[in-house]
Symmetry: C2
DNA sequence: GTGCGTGCAAAACCTTTGCACATCG
DNA sequence: CGATGTGCAAAGGTTTTGCACGCAC
């Protein structure tokens, strides 16, 4: 199902802005925040507002098109990969990368310990990436 | 080493405000944010300002007296347990609890995959606690 | 007495909201 | 044409900062 169908199926209208935001994040591995998506779209969509990026992201998150990440920063980042997975951020260059760590066993263990019914989890690491280590 | 020595050793002055904030968080298992520490101190320290709570927490985090948590909310929470450990938050009652999950193996695996030198990690779960499940 | 700490208010930052206008269906 | 979406500006929530005064040392 493409993004237009995805929106329509969920009762949302298909607009140029929504398609543009989708293009900006789809297969975008940089884990951008709202501001950088906004800046990325500025040249081709000068009328696009930051508020529209936020509103669109809220919808995309709701219908499962993006995932919202907290990587120890003030702003949220967005990931087109919607399956929950770990992230790692470099404190020097601020890039965020994926990490493959199985999350199911962690969720089961947390549920066992606490009796919670778990909806979601967030696993992120912070450190210095290889490139930045070499630059020192 | 008590908090007064801890402050002096690190070149900070010992003030009634800092001691009061320390009392408020030491062995406080509720993982409070700045606002709730401020409110907790209000009755006994009416002149204490929220800015002082923030400034004090910044120092405490720097000298290893508290740990800053991000549990998927807008505000930061503070934990007197400074050894990195996992947390779980209930979306209904907003309480945060500790979870015992070994983090060293996760850090080693993330370092192996990415070549990062890891300084810190954050593992948090979100769901519905046992009490809130039963209330439904 | 000197320099650091406090409290206030203002600013900064990210995100959300209200509203008039535009546009999708 | 009606309901939903957009863009702007303003407001909201959290955290930081500038500055005059006060207190630790």
């Amino acid at each position: 199902m493409n993004i237009a169908e995805m929106l329509r199926t969920n009762g949302y209208k298909v607009t140029p802005q929504r398609l543009a935001v989708y293009e900006a994040i789809n297969h975008n591995t940089t884990h951008p925040n709202a501001e950088s998506i906004y800046k990325q779209l500025q040249p081709n969509y000068p009328s696009m507002s930051l508020a529209t990026v936020y509103k669109t992201m809220e919808i995309f998150a709701k219908i499962g098109v993006v995932r919202v990440l907290q990587c120890g920063e003030d702003s949220h980042r967005y990931d087109y990969k919607t399956a929950s997975h770990a992230h790692i951020r470099c404190v020097k260059c601020n890039q965020v990368f994926d990490v493959n760590i199985e999350q199911e066993p962690l969720i089961r263990e947390a549920e066992r310990q606490t009796g919670f019914s778990i909806d979601d989890m967030n696993l992120s690491f912070i450190g210095v990436c290889k490139d930045c280590q070499e630059k020192e």
